[in-house]
């Protein structure tokens, strides 16, 4: 079972989270074409690589963005929407390192 790093709550098992779909940029409704709008609403990227996704921590009600490599199914990094960090965090390293961090 996967561990996801919630930017608020730290590493938690995946069953505490809900997937919220791809992070998409909404085109300007007033100026985009019908086709552009339909593409935004209905089409999702299926290509391999890093995908930006919405994830929600159910227990605390926290939305955040996760960058996930959909080829290896690994979470590259997570951050709050609009607060994209400069560097990527490392993988979860178990309780020992958590204690040290405290």
């Amino acid at each position: 079972m996967k561990i996801i790093h919630c930017p608020i709550n730290g590493p938690r098992p995946i069953q505490e989270f809900a997937y919220g779909g791809e992070v998409r940029e909404m085109p300007t409704p007033g100026s985009c074409s019908d086709e552009q709008w339909a593409d935004y609403v209905f089409n999702r990227k299926g290509e391999p690589g890093i995908k930006r996704e919405w994830w929600y921590h159910l227990a605390s009600g926290a939305w955040f963005v996760a960058e996930r490599d959909v080829v290896t199914d690994t979470f590259v990094r997570t951050y709050l929407y609009g607060e994209e960090p400069a560097t990527a965090p490392g993988p979860w390293k178990g309780r020992a390192s958590d204690e040290e961090a405290r």
């Binding site: 609403v41 929407y81 979860w92």
Partner: protein
């Protein structure tokens, strides 16, 4: 117990505790600590089971938990592996899949027809004539198979456990022990697991006496926990490992995992290599050292390295007359151990293989082996043979890695010719391999390699460890044990025989010719070969067959092992009882604070989302329909009270709260006056109706929003997300559980409530759709005048812990006015009479507000709301359907339409019924249905196909059915 050796140090049996048990109806004796197989073997029994397909006799082969031709059943359990199952007093078991018992299995003649059962025969045979196949299938199922499940066995739940550690070490051989010690010395919390009942791994039977220090260290370290009799059966994401023991499943989360699972010893392929008495070298060693059982009287050893010579010496030491040692290598064993074998007087046949094994007369056990000289191409010379009488053959020709966990974790293996073995080339982050699974064999080297893995795990977990790689002992090409003699594993111990039954997969009775045939038929890829031949698909999942299959296919293709590849390893590594996996069916269930009062009032409950809600209240002997109608009528005539505490209740505050709601919902809220409520409709981005509710404005910057019961979590979630995306200054608080609510509704509701509140209820001061704050029954409350059921009513929201108090007070106060509680069904009828839809009952995952008749709720001239742009596009398209009200004649007697019955036009589906009530307060049956737009005008007739395919006619009616002017909810 003729085969029992004198007492020896470290034996697992307790000679002070004899155990009596029954096998195939006969009484046997063993000692506590014996397994079924070892106790029988000690008693001189050689035939322990019958094979899957041909019912060939089988005995001890691996004694390592993979003797799947020796499965027994008894005591309500089946497919018990006799090689590891401890005997217990009173145990009564028999072999699986025999006809008439093990000794005289009538199905043993199946093999006579084996010529007619080539590989994959069941894919080709019995298809014509068609009637033959079911008969053939039944026959095949009777012949081939495993144990029978007892339908009377009782299902019991196994406990589930969660566990955590810093470092999980799988396997307690020298490498695993060493890794555990190294990690523990770094202060880490280490969990050590082994499927065997005791720790030590190969130290207990192969290198007896070595590694004692490590075992003592492990016992002394307080931060090492040891779980024996526990199999790590599956690796899942982020170091989550399933540990299975006889009682339970443990879900373990580790910080890092060291896999020191060792190897599976591999058989040699020759004619008769499955006859009882032919066993792996390690099986013979386990018998001697763990169970003090003499594996054979007069034996032969087949070797290709030092390990085989050790087996010969162990047999010699156990009083076995070792009649010969056949060494596959022309050069023989150069080391000291080779000398010791010669000193023991054991004749060594260099450059010889075992070509044939023969039964002893008509007995189902070994009587002799035929050795044959090998030529330079590793092929036996059938002219240069020597026959040796013996009752046992120990085969020690090499190993395959027990790499299942590593494969599952995503490790990539490659073939290392220095050890003639697949070894992990790249490992996923936080997963380490050590010992023989990593291609490291000498005991002291394994210990060093384990240390390396333990230290690497510690370093991974953030410990300061200097250069763990200096302990690396993995061999690479040109770095051979003993210089010239090759590694412990032979690259191709497969010897064809003209008439041979040379088995490759003992689970499935597949022999060499099957592979050659499959290859000729074009199944030249390992995954195809596996599926066609079923190699590795038996009960042991190919522990002793997969590697041989790869080698055989590689040779047939003229390819390398790396080019040939391997099949995929999936959880579970070992069979797991279904009871260990079965969950407890936990479902979250929510009850409102007034639940007990509803129960006392005779409520029948229904599930709505996670909630239990009163469906209706049973009074006396009234039927369900009568109860529901009586409740609804009482609301129309007098006053009713419904628990609506399950509604979503969300507070939206902040300077941009109104603007936020206006983007989220279709309506206008910036113009909403404080003290008023408005209907709110939510769409998704494609314009589909997802929720509706009421928005009450209690202050300039404070709104109170209700959502439908089942959508409350999703709506709150979406609100949070949009607030983030739009970067708006709003504060959201989900008060769904903290608050509860009731709806007091009916013409008498004002007079009932008047005595209980300080809010001025006069129509001028508290009109329809207004919202007020005040005290109700002494509890601070928000009160909203809503029109869902179409009568004068007050929806009262207040703290959940006051639910019982307020409910009781309202019921008491309303008694003289004829108050009755009403349930969800009565409310559904009342709103249907008003033509109000219920989102997700009258709408589906594609319903837009235009077709649902909700255009009144779409704010005109708004800049933006979720779904608006999609509606713009939808408006340009032709309307596909329209939600309309319909009636049936007042004297209609059935057959009755039901929700989801189809509207049919000219034999085609033209819509469906979404709501229906047989009896209503408007004097005739009413409903809602989707119809094509050309049938949507009031007065139009359309057909509904009801149960049994009968068609009935309905008439479109103008909505609402009841009180079209809406005067009743407004006074």
């Amino acid at each position: 117990m003729s085969g029992r050796l004198p007492q020896r140090a470290g034996e697992w049996i307790d000679r002070s505790k004899p155990v009596e048990f029954r096998f195939e109806g006969q009484a046997f004796r063993g000692f506590s600590g014996d397994t079924i197989s070892t106790a029988l073997w000690a008693s001189g029994v050689r035939l322990l089971g019958r094979s899957f397909k041909y019912h060939r006799p089988r005995g001890i082969f691996s004694l390592a938990n993979h003797d799947v031709s020796v499965l027994v059943e008894g005591g309500g359990r089946t497919n018990i592996r006799a090689d590891i199952e401890p005997i217990a007093p009173g145990m009564d078991v028999k072999a699986v899949n025999t006809s008439g018992g093990l000794w005289s299995d009538r199905l043993r003649f199946t093999e006579t027809f084996s010529k007619f059962m080539p590989v994959g025969f069941y894919y080709k045979a019995f298809h014509r004539p068609r009637w033959l196949f079911p008969i053939a299938e039944r026959a095949m199922r009777r012949v081939a198979g495993l144990g029978k499940i007892s339908p009377s066995s009782v299902f019991g739940h196994s406990p589930k456990r969660y566990d955590f550690c810093d470092v999980l070490v799988v396997g307690t051989g020298p490498a695993g022990l060493s890794a555990a010690v190294a990690a523990a010395e770094q202060g880490l919390d280490v969990l050590l697991v082994d499927e065997q009942p005791r720790i030590g791994g190969s130290l207990l039977y192969q290198h007896v006496g070595a590694g004692r220090e490590l075992m003592e260290k492990v016992a002394a370290l307080p931060n090492v926990r040891v779980l024996t009799g526990t199999t790590a059966t599956g690796y899942y994401a982020d170091h989550w490992v399933a540990l299975v023991d006889s009682r339970k499943l443990t879900k373990l989360r580790a910080g890092a995992v060291v896999v020191a699972t060792g190897v599976h010893e591999q058989p040699s392929v020759f004619h008769g290599n499955d006859i009882p008495g032919v066993m792996l070298g390690s099986a013979a060693q386990r018998l001697i050292h763990l169970y003090a059982v003499q594996p054979m009287r007069r034996g032969v050893v087949l070797a290709c390295g030092a390990d085989g010579y050790r087996v010969a010496l162990d047999l010699h030491g156990a009083g076995v007359e070792v009649a010969a040692l056949a060494d596959l290598r022309v050069g023989g064993e150069p080391g000291d151990i080779g000398k010791r074998v010669l000193e023991a007087g054991i004749p060594v046949h260099r450059g010889h293989c075992v070509y044939e094994a023969h039964r002893a007369g008509d007995k189902p056990s070994l009587g002799a082996v035929v050795l044959a000289k090998l030529n330079e191409q590793n092929e036996p010379d059938a002219q240069r043979t020597v026959k040796i009488d013996c009752d046992g053959l120990a085969v020690s020709v090499g190993y395959a890695p027990a790499g299942a966990l590593l494969y599952q974790a995503g490790a990539k293996f490659g073939y290392e010719s220095a050890v003639e073995q697949l070894i992990p080339r790249t490992l996923p982050s936080g997963v380490f391999a050590a010992g023989r699974v990593n291609g490291v064999y000498a005991p002291e080297e394994k210990i060093a390699d384990g240390r390396r893995a333990g230290l690497e795990a510690a370093k991974f977990l953030g410990k300061e460890v200097a250069d763990p790689a200096r302990w690396n002992r993995r061999a690479s090409e040109g770095d051979l044990e003993g210089g010239t003699s090759g590694g412990p594993t032979h690259p191709y111990p497969v010897y064809a025989h003209r008439q041979g039954k040379n088995f490759i997969d003992l689970d499935e009775d597949l022999h060499l010719a099957d592979f050659v045939n499959a290859h000729q038929e074009g199944f030249d890829n390992i995954e195809l070969m596996k599926r066609y031949s079923t190699v590795g698909m038996g009960a042991s999942q190919g522990k002793h067959a997969n590697m041989l299959a790869v080698r055989v296919l590689a040779k047939l293709n003229g390819a390398t092992v790396d080019q040939t590849g391997t099949t995929t390893s999936r959880p579970f590594y070992h069979p797991v009882p279904l009871g260990h996996l079965a969950g407890r069916r936990f479902h979250p269930l929510r009850r409102t604070p007034m639940h007990a009062l509803h129960e006392r009032a005779g409520a029948h409950f229904m599930h709505v989302g996670a909630w239990l809600r009163p469906e209706y209240y049973q009074v006396g002997h009234q039927s369900r329909e009568e109860s529901i109608f009586a409740e609804a009528k009482n609301v129309r005539d007098h006053v009713g009270l419904i628990d609506v505490g399950t509604l979503g209740k969300i507070q939206v505050c902040g300077p941009e709260a109104a603007a936020f709601l206006e983007r989220l919902y279709t309506g206008r809220f910036t113009t909403q006056k404080v003290g008023l409520g408005r209907y709110a409709l939510a769409l998704d981005e494609s314009g589909v109706v997802i929720d509706d509710g009421l928005v009450g404005r209690f202050a300039e910057d404070m709104f109170y929003v209700t959502t439908t019961t089942s959508a409350s979590d999703a709506m709150y979630r979406e609100m949070q997300r949009w607030a983030l995306i739009w970067k708006m200054k709003v504060l959201l608080a989900n008060a769904t559980g903290r608050l509860t609510a009731v709806n007091l509704v009916g013409p008498a509701s004002r007079s009932v409530l008047a005595g209980l509140t300080d809010i001025d209820l006069t129509p001028a001061s508290f009109p329809y759709l207004a919202v007020r704050r005040g005290m109700v029954c002494g509890v601070a409350a928000r009160v909203m005048r809503v029109g869902f059921v179409g009568e004068l009513g007050y929806e009262i929201h207040f703290r959940a812990d006051a639910g019982v108090h307020v409910w009781r007070a309202l019921i008491d106060a309303g008694r003289r006015a004829g108050i009755r509680p009403f349930g969800v069904e009565a409310q559904r009828l009342l709103r249907l009479e008003k033509g109000h839809l219920i989102v997700s009952q009258d709408t589906d995952a594609l319903t837009n507000p235009i077709e649902a008749g909700l255009e009144f709720a779409l704010g005109k001239g708004k800049d933006f709301y979720v779904g608006q742009r999609s509606l713009e596009i939808l408006r340009k398209q032709e309307l596909m359907r329209k939600l309309v009200g319909f009636t049936l004649p007042a004297d209609f007697k059935g057959p009755w339409p039901e929700e989801c019955h189809l509207v049919i036009e000219n034999g085609r589906i033209a819509g469906r019924v979404t709501s229906f009530a047989r009896r209503s307060n408007v004097g005739q049956p009413i409903g809602l249905a989707f119809v094509t737009p050309d049938r949507a005008a009031p007065g139009t007739r359309f057909s509904i196909r009801v149960e049994g395919g009968k068609m009935i006619e309905a008439t479109v009616a103008k909505l609402p059915f009841y009180d079209p002017q809406g005067v009743r909810q407004k006074p």
